[in-house]
């Protein structure tokens, strides 16, 4: 049986393994399941990056109509990812720092790290410097919803804060209380890093 990659309507190239029915089954054999989880993690993160999705919930596997249908379901082979399997994958992703539970103290919903917070910090700093906004005070809103769309558009607040805190530790950003909440000032810092 030959499997081939498939391009979704949204222009995402699904891997060939997505057309294999066993891919959707939670394998009892731990070693086999580790391989399956690894591929799913990669698939989920790629798709999230492709569609700029930040959240994945176990409920997304239940009824059709969510943003994740193209990945979590495969109508061509009549398979979908059971919620129990998805829950297992999410757990594994969190344990490998590929995602974090958001909100905390529950396991049904995760914030995906298709970029790690450290990478986000770099992206943030690069964006600030490339748009010549170093040393200016920016509100969080101005970062998340900039006049000119950027990679940071729509970034969740949690992720943004973590990125900023990373920058603060390296003295490249400074959190300042402003009148309507908080603001941040990016500093040039030591680019050497």
């Amino acid at each position: 049986m030959s499997l081939s990659p498939h391009t979704t309507p949204s222009g995402f190239l699904l891997p060939s393994i997505h057309a294999a029915p066993p891919f959707f089954t939670l394998q009892p054999k731990a070693e086999t399941q580790a391989l399956v989880t690894e591929q799913w993690t990669r698939l989920i993160l790629s798709y999230a990056r492709h569609r700029r999705l930040f959240y994945l919930r176990v409920e997304d596997a239940e009824p059709p109509g969510s943003d994740w249908d193209e990945v979590l379901r495969n109508d061509r082979i009549n398979r979908r990812l059971p919620p129990s399997h998805l829950s297992y994958i999410l757990d594994d992703m969190v344990s490998k720092n590929k995602a974090m539970y958001e909100p905390v103290k529950q396991t049904r919903s995760v914030l995906l790290f298709w970029r790690l917070p450290e990478e986000w910090a770099e992206v943030l700093h690069d964006w600030a410097s490339s748009t010549a906004q170093l040393n200016t005070i920016l509100t969080f809103f101005e970062i998340v919803e900039p006049p000119v769309p950027s990679q940071l558009s729509g970034i969740p607040d949690t992720l943004l804060r973590r990125a900023i805190s990373i920058l603060t530790k390296t003295n490249r950003a400074q959190v300042i209380a402003v009148s309507d909440g908080e603001g941040v000032r990016f500093l040039a810092g030591n680019v050497s890093k």
């Binding site: 393994i17 294999a20 009892p28 086999t32 391989l35 399956v36 990669r42 790629s46 059709p64």
Partner: protein, 583 residues
């Protein structure tokens, strides 16, 4: 005519013991008996045997036992007389009877047909639901054998007799008083108006059940006759005055004294009365029922005692049987040894006989003539006879199972057992089919059962069986090995193609070649039971060679048909290289 009225005919060809009730005992018998009906000789009953029991007196005719034999319930006997005999006159016993109670109910003794006799039917007690067996005497069958509660009522005649389904009176019929009885106690049939003898339960003419007559005919003159006097009636019995209500037993061959004594004892013992239970009021001697007897069979005590007795007797039987078995086991070894000894001697004799029978030329052979003579005594026919007898006893045993006492050395014993098991598994000497036949895998339980069935005696305990198994590969070709499946702990014996690695390789090859398969398909392909296939496939999965597609999470209903069953795939994740979206 008292003979006809008080006795019932029996089939004299049946042994008397078979005619007895369950609670009745045969006490004495005397042949050479003649019967007098009243004061006159009864012509048909002049030569027969009389049997006295606790309940009855039997007369079995010698010439025509079927037609002329009869039984007499001792309950009817009022008193007896003994006449010692004089010159040519034989000794005689005279039995005087009570007057018969006017209408005998259907359930009472002496009247009704055999079907109405309560003793001949089993019935269920209303109180304890114990099903009373038939065969008890009429009196004993009136009370429940288990709880001692009297039987509630005679069975409903409407159920038993189909003819009674018709309504007794119809508008067209003249209104006949159903219970009318005339001066003689005769009962008018409600259907055909025939006047029946009071002893009858059903009409003599049409078989309709007769109405019971409730009161004794005290006010006969008040009751008008329902029919003219010219109606036909049952031929009336002789008027039974006290002098005619008797029969005599004439002892033509003596034995009268002993028989009379026994009879007296039976009459005094009143075995027909159920002890401790008041009888129905229409029975003659209810007032003199002896309450003093201790063996009450009623109530909880009675039930408990019955249960105890039953348990004790079955316990005794079981112990006896086990003792027999133990005795047999003690003797068994000696028997076999003796048989083998005999067999060996016969073999030795038959081999030495021809040699010694050759004419001894040299004088030195003279010593051997002695044994030669003795061997000649055993004829070949006798030898074959003995041997065939031994074979019939099963003691010859050319294929005797290997037992521990045959081979002292335990290691050799196990080895021999392994050789024997190999024969059972693969067939001996290339002929015949063993348990394995064409199969590659067979369960340990089946092998054990099959082996012991093949041995028949000296069965192998499972512990020994497990000891033998490691020796099996050296005696089998191809070598048969044991393997325990991890999933259920099931152990199997298998040929080399079913070792773990071989099976995994074959399965992976199969899946790669023809695509995913279910366990059932794999079982078909491998010709092994499905349960076994499941176990073995799971083992292969455990090695990571294959993976499963449970398919239970199908999207459309169309796919449900194949859902629920796991399809097995080659492990496609191994060595998979990402061929999807890359940034």
């Amino acid at each position: 005519m008292s003979l006809r009225r008080y006795t019932r005919s029996v089939d004299g060809t049946i042994p008397v013991r078979a005619l007895l009730y369950e609670d009745e005992d045969l006490i004495a018998s005397q042949d050479g008996i003649g019967i007098y009906d009243g004061t006159e000789k009864s012509a048909p009953h002049q030569s027969g045997t009389a049997h006295a029991t606790t309940h009855r007196l039997f007369y079995i005719d010698a010439a025509q036992p079927i037609a002329r034999s009869f039984e007499l319930d001792l309950v009817h006997v009022a008193r007896t007389e003994h006449y010692a005999g004089l010159f040519t006159s034989s000794p005689k016993i005279t039995l005087h009877f009570h007057a018969l109670p006017a209408p005998l109910s259907a359930g009472d003794d002496g009247a009704g047909s055999a079907a109405d006799d309560p003793a001949s039917r089993s019935w269920t007690c209303d109180v304890c639901a114990y099903r009373n067996p038939p065969g008890l005497s009429p009196a004993a069958s009136r009370v429940c054998a288990l709880c001692g509660v009297p039987r509630s009522s005679a069975p409903n005649p409407a159920v038993d007799i189909p003819g009674s389904a018709a309504p007794p009176t119809t508008p067209t019929r003249s209104p006949t008083p159903p219970a009318s009885a005339d001066a003689d106690g005769e009962i008018a049939c409600s259907v055909c108006t025939f006047l029946n003898h009071p002893a009858l339960a059903a009409c003599e003419m049409c078989g309709t059940p007769l109405p019971r007559r409730p009161p004794p005919p005290q006010q006969q003159q008040v009751q008008a006759r329902s029919a003219p006097a010219s109606r036909p009636t049952t031929p009336s019995a002789d008027d039974d005055g006290p002098d005619t209500r008797m029969i005599r037993l004439s002892f033509r061959r003596g034995g009268d004294k002993a028989f009379y004594a026994v009879l007296r004892r039976s009459l005094l013992g009143k075995g027909w009365e159920v002890k401790g239970v008041t009888k129905p009021t229409n029975t003659v001697r209810s007032s003199v029922t002896t309450q003093g007897h201790t063996a009450t069979l009623s109530g909880i005590n009675g039930i408990l005692r019955t249960v105890e007795t039953t348990a004790a007797s079955s316990q005794n039987d079981m112990e006896d049987a086990l003792k027999d078995l133990e005795a047999l086991m003690v003797k068994w070894r000696d028997m076999v040894k003796l048989a083998q000894d005999l067999n060996e001697r016969l073999t030795a004799v038959s081999t030495t006989a021809p040699a010694t029978l050759a004419p001894p030329a040299a004088s030195t052979e003279g010593a051997s003539t002695g044994p030669a003579l003795t061997t000649q005594a055993v004829e070949p026919e006798e030898a074959t006879f003995i041997r065939s007898s031994l074979a019939q006893l099963g003691a010859q045993m050319p294929n005797a199972p290997v037992t521990l006492d045959m081979i002292r050395d335990e290691r050799r014993w196990v080895d021999e057992l392994a050789r024997e098991l190999a024969g059972v598994l693969q067939g001996t000497g290339g002929k015949g089919e063993g348990i394995m036949r064409q199969r590659g895998v067979v369960g340990l339980d089946e092998v054990w059962g099959g082996w012991n069935r093949a041995r028949g005696v000296a069965l192998i305990p499972p512990s020994t069986f497990l000891m033998v198994l490691p020796h099996l590969p050296s005696h089998t070709s191809p070598p048969i090995q044991m393997r325990t499946l991890a999933g259920s702990g099931l152990s199997v014996l298998h040929t080399p193609p079913f070792t773990r690695a071989a099976f995994a390789a074959r399965l992976v090859g199969l899946l790669a070649l023809v695509g995913p398969k279910t366990v059932v398909e794999i079982a078909q392909e491998e010709a092994i039971p499905i349960g076994l296939a499941q176990e073995m496939v799971v083992e292969v999965e455990d090695e990571g060679e294959i993976c499963r597609d449970e398919g239970g999470a199908g999207i459309s209903a169309a796919g449900l048909s194949q859902n629920g069953e796991v399809r097995w795939w080659v492990n496609i994740f191994r060595g998979y290289v990402w061929d999807g979206q890359t940034d």
